[in-house]
């Protein structure tokens, strides 16, 4: 039970942490500053000057000009399931834009300033706050999760130590006979270590099953909100990797717990 709870919390925080990390990477890869031009801008040549200015200030940035036609293509791709929306929009409706990606969030304010003061720019979209908030949330998730996992792993270790310790006491006579008839240390200790491993193993499998079940159930409801963020739907291969890692981690915790019990109660 305690192993299941520990693994449940462990896997949950692992997934939350990985999900947030992925979301952050996604946002960092995405254009972090987007300048939308008015209708007078139709080709990349018209904004050459500002692009050069940005690159001079921040050599590490990448820029991409999206013309009205390209914007329409992107729009059509995103809304291909909704013919009504497709009918309403033409290339003229959409503005041309310049997407600027910086390697560091710290470079964003300068780029923002340059674009904002550029002629023919109607609006500048700026993701600094989103990224900063996400970094802060991710940090809290990691720290809180780590503290909770350390607490639960310690509890699980002591629980396993106690359970295996009790079993060793109950099988004292049998262990004594085994030793006297020539049982090796591995023969006597092996079953207890294996038992500890199985506690961890089953804790991990049960928790993983519950969590994956929850993810599968909620995914259809969350897709409309998070679909574009490359988190959902969760890949089955990724979940299998999580299962493998959880089983390994649970097994190690179980074996360490029972090893401590064996070490404590079967010294001689």
């Amino acid at each position: 039970m305690i192993m299941t709870l520990t693994m449940f919390v462990g896997i949950s925080f692992l997934l939350l942490s990985l999900g947030s990390q992925r979301l952050l990477s996604y946002l960092e890869q995405k254009p972090q500053v987007i300048a939308f031009f008015n209708d007078t801008v139709t080709s990349a040549d018209q904004i050459k000057e500002v692009v050069e200015k940005i690159i001079t200030t921040n050599p590490s940035v990448t820029t991409k000009f999206i013309s009205k036609e390209e914007a329409l293509k992107i729009y059509q791709e995103r809304n291909k399931a909704d013919p009504l929306l497709l009918e309403l929009v033409t290339a003229n409706t959409l503005p041309a834009s310049l997407e600027v990606s910086a390697k560091s969030v710290a470079d964003l304010p300068a780029i923002y300033e340059i674009l904002k003061n550029t002629a023919n720019v109607e609006d500048v979209s700026y993701q600094k706050d989103v990224v900063n908030t996400l970094i802060s949330v991710l940090d809290k998730i990691r720290k809180g999760g780590l503290a909770l996992i350390i607490f639960l792993v310690t509890t699980a270790l002591f629980t396993i130590l106690t359970i295996i310790g009790m079993k060793i006491s109950l099988r004292k006579d049998e262990i004594e006979v085994e030793k006297l008839v020539g049982a090796s240390s591995g023969f006597v200790r092996g079953p207890f270590l294996l038992e500890g491993f199985f506690y961890g193993f089953f804790g991990a499998v049960v928790s993983w099953t519950i969590i994956y079940g929850i993810i599968l159930v909620v995914t259809p409801h969350l897709l409309p909100f998070l679909g574009g963020l490359a988190i959902l739907p969760v890949s089955p291969v990724f979940m299998l990797e999580v299962l493998g890692a959880s089983v390994l981690a649970g097994g190690i915790v179980g074996v360490i717990g029972s090893f401590l019990a064996v070490w404590r109660y079967l010294k001689n």
């Binding site: 006579d173 085994e178 006297l180 008839v181 049982a183 090796s184 240390s185 023969f187």
Partner: protein, 225 residues
């Protein structure tokens, strides 16, 4: 070969169990350790099995110096020795067959070998049909024989028997002694602690008489001569 050289054993409560004892038992011998309670018979057997260590002196069992070995060497030593304990140490929640099998599982034998050899040993001690019985379902004599069967599993080089006829009637006691004699004839060294003169006298084997942790006589023959 089992060799005790000037061995002394004193327990923490101050009891002197053995005092400067020197004894040599050759391979293939049948040796009775006789003497009153507290003479040191059980202590000798426990020392051979390395359940306890001497305070001084040297004990050799084949190449093993029992004071110097540990870990895997102790395992090797114990696999050479079968022991019928005074309190039998049969596990009450296991069948007789499972009790015998335990000695074979520890040797790493497979299930088929374990079952075949366990049955063979039970047959040897006359318990062929009682493998599925639990210790609580057997008589005193049968329990002793079951303990002998377990001690013999794995064909040990040495068999130690601590009062194997202690709690049984003469008829059953005699059966047990005959089994031990047969095992000895097949090549196993047998060391039997007893205070029953009748069986000792009939077998006419080497008799080591102990009193207060010392050997007072060591000769072939009868319990008292």
């Amino acid at each position: 070969m089992i060799k005790f050289e000037n061995v002394s054993k004193k327990f923490p409560d101050g009891t002197v169990a053995l005092e400067d004892l020197t004894l040599e038992i050759n391979d293939g011998e049948f040796v009775f350790l006789v003497g009153p309670s507290g003479a040191g018979k059980t202590t000798i057997l426990k020392l051979i099995l390395r359940e306890i260590l001497p305070n001084s002196g040297t004990i050799l069992v084949d190449e093993h110096d029992l004071k110097k070995i540990s870990g895997g060497k102790v395992v090797q030593l114990r696999r050479k020795i079968g022991c019928v304990f005074q309190d039998l140490k049969l596990l009450p929640d296991r069948s007789i067959l499972e009790n015998v099998a335990l000695s074979l599982w520890v040797l790493g034998k497979n299930a088929r070998e374990v079952e075949a050899e366990s049955k063979e040993k039970l047959e040897l001690v006359g318990l062929a049909g009682k493998g599925d019985f639990f210790p609580a379902q057997l008589s005193g004599g049968e329990l002793q024989r079951a303990a002998i069967a377990r001690a013999l599993a794995g064909n040990p080089k040495y068999l130690l028997a601590d009062e194997p006829t202690g709690n049984v009637d003469d008829e059953n006691g005699w059966k047990i002694v005959k089994i031990l004699e047969k095992i000895n004839e097949d090549g196993t060294t047998v060391v039997m602690a007893t205070h029953n003169p009748e069986f000792v006298d009939k077998l006419h084997k080497r008799v080591v008489r102990l009193k207060d942790g010392k050997i007072i006589s060591d000769r072939r023959g009868k319990y008292r001569e």
